[in-house]
Amino acid sequence: MRSNLSRKGPRRLVALLGLALALCLAAPAAASAITVYAAASLREAFPEMAPAQTYNFSGSNELALQIERGAPADVFASAAPEEAQELFQKGLCSRPVTFATNVVVMLVPNGNPGHLKSVYSLRQGGHTIAVGIPGVPIGGYTRELLARMRLSSILTNNTVTLEKNVTGITAKVALGAVEAGFAYVTDGRIVSDRVEIIRLPRWAQPPVRYQACIVHRAGADTAGAQKFMEVLTGKRGRTALKKGGFGLPPKA
């Protein structure tokens, strides 16, 4: 009996130490939970990279406006540099850091009901397409890309549905409500079971750069935000972003 106890003792001790260690590790994570306002296209990659944080995903322009009005964000991650740079210029966030890149693609519902072989098929008109509104990054990038291909006319030749963010575009395509939509390749991958991805030429791609910054406001968790930024630009962040199909900027 005595020998039995002495054998169990170290095991219990190891188990207790393990439990204590787990609690120690869990405690700072809970304490540093921050609020991240991020572009809708990051809705899969960010929770996978840092699941303990609170997220608000939407169009970057809308989120920037909310932050300007005092929304309780600690970190802002935008799908285009303009929004983050504007907040920085106004002293509302730290100098933005580029952490990912992306490419614009054309999505069509499974089975391609519009029989669209390429983006040039839209020149003839008569199709239904979903496009981001001009103020939201995906809307701006789409217009830029079409102008570079001399295809701006497809926005007038076809029936266009305007969406406030990229999630709306992918949803419309996935449900078959439109024959095509312009979104990021990463969004196409999220709904790849319901859509087909039609690549657009590399030469016409606008530079899609994601930038993040730490929000300056009274009561912000700056230390927690700093840790999040380190994770985002570190190995864990780059791995999660790459897995989601994002491009990565060169390491700083």
Partner: protein, 199 residues
Amino acid sequence: MGITLNRVRSLCLALPVALIALAVVSSSAGAQQYRPEPQGDDIAYLQLGAVSELVTLELFRSAAHSKALGASEKGTFKRLADQTAKGWIKLNSLLGEGAISREIFTVKIPAGVLKSRAKTVALATRFEKLLAGLYLGGVESTIDPPTRLLIGRHLTTSARDLSVLEDLRGGRPSMLAPKPLSVEYVGEQFERYLAIPGS
């Protein structure tokens, strides 16, 4: 291996394009004092011009160090590279936030091309013909006069570089002006030499 540039032949080659470019420059003379402000889809010619110039620049730079070429030919490619770099910087500066950088595109010139003098010169000539065709299309289609003038200047440069390359190649002089080419066609031709990092 020294190549003597046949000036008369080069003049013959460049003459038709130079005349077109001259007509553009004189018709846009009033626009000279204004900065290009591309209207509508005008940007297509500047953006694809910048992409194409970048690909061409990479080829010229690589050719300037190619073991398949003689010293004089390498010197010619170095001069062409310097000239192309200037043109590329000018075009790219007009693209603002959309400017092209190596972070967005990487250019891949097939190694096999650079091992052969004939293939290197042929590809360089092909690129320059595509550029001249693109700029000619741009001169015909752009709305903004200062943008048209700028494209006309690039057309002149391309025509001059083309004559140098045709001379290297030993091709027959032609009095025919290059055909205007569509953005779609030129884009497709340069697409195969581009890669997006991380995609």
